[in-house]
């Protein structure tokens, strides 16, 4: 896998046969009960959230769901959330905070939806509020990027104590196609853009943006899920014993440090 180009990974991250958000919930969480709606406008099928048991721990779990099959994918808007999706996610996180439940997010989106209604309902404001509130949420948060990590729409569920990425998942400020069409007026140069953007899991690890790269060898199989479950449980256990002010301070420091090494000048 080492000689895979960045764009090969982009294609792998988008592959239709990749496990989706709901697959992770089904495989990892026992007695999952989906909780719907943002209590303000509606329910966004692109984000699935609810409660259940991860190993022996009661958790709140939130996943971006791209859908399976043409009809389901259409219903789920191909995993491009609307503002009500982000507001539902925040509502469930606040609920988790109240009941001292850790939060686990599975992120897989090409980006927050670019639509007329999404703008009317404040897509930017919804994402901004999540970034702010997650930073001080008084319960552990772990986010796992399982496919595409498309810009602000992915970050809105990834302001976490630890962020992990699957080996072939990507995390990017802009889609390689968008980048190529802006820079070179040619979306066909997406492979070059993907290389330049440094969007692979290994790049993210090198820049300190994530803590772990998870191998995909057994992806989707029982062994893969049981390892992931065990790793999540171990990390939650580690984070749960921290006093809450220390936990949120660490989370702040984690993001505060990003970019510091790249600075020049005084």
């Amino acid at each position: 896998m080492a000689e895979n180009t960045a764009y090969d990974r982009v294609k792998a991250a988008r592959a239709n046969n990749r496990p989706t958000g709901k697959d992770y919930i089904n495989a990892l969480v026992d007695n999952f009960l989906e909780l719907h709606g943002d209590r303000r406008f509606g329910d966004d099928p692109a984000i699935v959230g609810g409660v259940g048991w991860l190993g022996g721990v009661a958790v709140t779990v939130i996943a971006i769901e791209k859908g399976r099959g043409a009809k389901d994918r259409l219903t789920r808007n191909f995993g491009a959330p609307n503002p009500e999706g982000y507001r539902k996610a925040l509502r469930l996180m606040k609920q988790a905070e109240k009941f001292r439940r850790p939060v686990v997010c599975f992120v897989d989106t090409s980006g927050a939806y670019c639509g007329i209604e999404a703008e009317e309902r404040g897509q930017g404001q919804a994402i901004a509020e999540n970034l702010m509130e997650m930073m001080t949420l008084r319960t552990p948060i772990i986010s796992v990027l399982v496919g595409e990590g498309g810009s602000g729409g992915a970050l809105a569920l990834a302001v976490a104590d630890e962020v992990w990425m699957l080996e072939n998942s990507i995390y990017s400020v802009i889609s390689p196609e968008g980048c190529a069409s802006i820079l070179w007026k040619d979306s066909g140069k997406a492979a070059d853009a993907a290389q330049s953007l440094k969007l692979t899991a290994q790049d993210a690890l090198d820049m300190g943006i994530i803590e772990r790269v998870l191998p995909e060898k057994e992806m989707g199989k029982e062994g893969f899920y049981s390892v992931l479950r065990a790793e999540l449980c171990a990390k939650i256990e580690e984070l749960e014993i921290l006093p809450l002010p220390e936990l949120t301070e660490m989370r702040y420091r984690r993001f505060r440090a990003l970019g510091a090494q790249q600075l020049a000048g005084e």
Binding site: I116, A118, L131, S172
Partner: protein, 290 residues
């Protein structure tokens, strides 16, 4: 004047008769002018500058660079710049970025796309950040994120309000994922400042989109906007391509955001300083005349 005409010289006005000492101030036909994008009239620069960079005919708000905005918004001589030298290099070795930085720095005479500092507005002390439209359209990279984060931390330490003027095309793709992370970093600093009970006023100017809209532009306690500014998350062209729908009239303008509940007030430039000054006063905890 040919020599022979000297004897037939007829003075045309007071000046030529020697009765006046200076010419009346007249329209200088050679004075540079800007065409108003809204009403298409030619506005001489002196008139534009004398009118807060607004069209003298239709009040269209022209783009202002960050230094002009600071001097127009703050009390004379009160601005002290902080973190001025902070910038970032081409750490990703992104194609064309060093050249782009060089030409942008030469043209804008700024090292980065935001300036930060302390200032007084109508006598009230505050921290200020103003983004720079002529530096890659206020593009948010690592240095922009760091400077704004620092000004919020400084404001929290010194119990000062923050006034922020945004203009940005979003996160800077030439700095990749780390520029995306600045959205979270700044948001964290805004939250801490907010949790300390301190005021943050945003003034959104044309255009503010992408990662800046999806972070600190929308995180103000009070969100003000300039008339007619474009404000949105996704770009209009991207939305048209995604949805294949025609965008409604006035989509993503300040007025559109006001009617949908995402902006507190639209404040014309001529009233901004007074409005922000009185908001700072209102939140200063003192008596009305204090």
């Amino acid at each position: 004047m040919p020599f022979i005409d000297f004897f037939n010289f007829q003075p045309k006005n007071e000046l030529e008769k020697g009765g006046r000492q200076s010419a009346p101030i007249a329209q200088d036909d050679n004075e540079p002018a800007k065409t108003c994008p809204n009403c298409h009239r030619q506005i001489p620069l002196s008139q534009l500058w004398g009118n807060d960079h607004c069209c003298t005919n239709c009040d269209y708000h022209f783009r202002m660079n960050s230094r002009q905005r600071v001097s127009f918004m703050t009390d004379s001589g009160s601005f002290t710049e902080l973190y001025a030298g902070l910038c970032a290099d081409d750490f990703l070795r992104f194609p064309g970025y060093p050249k782009k930085l060089e030409t942008t720095r030469n043209a804008s005479r700024e090292t980065e796309a935001v300036i930060c500092g302390t200032a007084k507005i109508d006598g009230r002390e505050c921290c200020l950040f103003v983004m720079e439209p002529y530096f890659m359209m206020g593009s948010m990279g690592v240095a922009v994120g760091e400077k704004i984060t620092r000004i919020f931390e400084y404001a929290a330490e010194n119990s000062l309000p923050v006034v922020g003027c945004t203009v940005s095309g979003g996160a800077r793709m030439q700095e990749g994922m780390l520029s995306l992370m600045q959205m979270a970093k700044v948001s964290g600093a805004v939250k801490r400042h907010s949790d300390a009970g301190l005021l943050y006023i945003t003034l959104i100017t044309d255009p503010t989109t992408g990662g800046v809209t999806a972070s600190f532009a929308m995180e103000g306690d009070i969100i003000l906007a300039e008339p007619g500014a474009t404000i949105g998350f996704a770009g209009a062209r991207v939305i048209e391509q995604t949805t294949r729908k025609k965008l409604p009239q006035g989509f993503q303008t300040s007025e559109f955001l006001l009617s949908h509940g995402f902006v507190d007030a639209i404040v014309p430039r001529a009233q901004q300083r007074k409005t922000i000054g009185s908001l700072l006063k209102l939140h200063s905890g003192g008596a009305e005349n204090g």
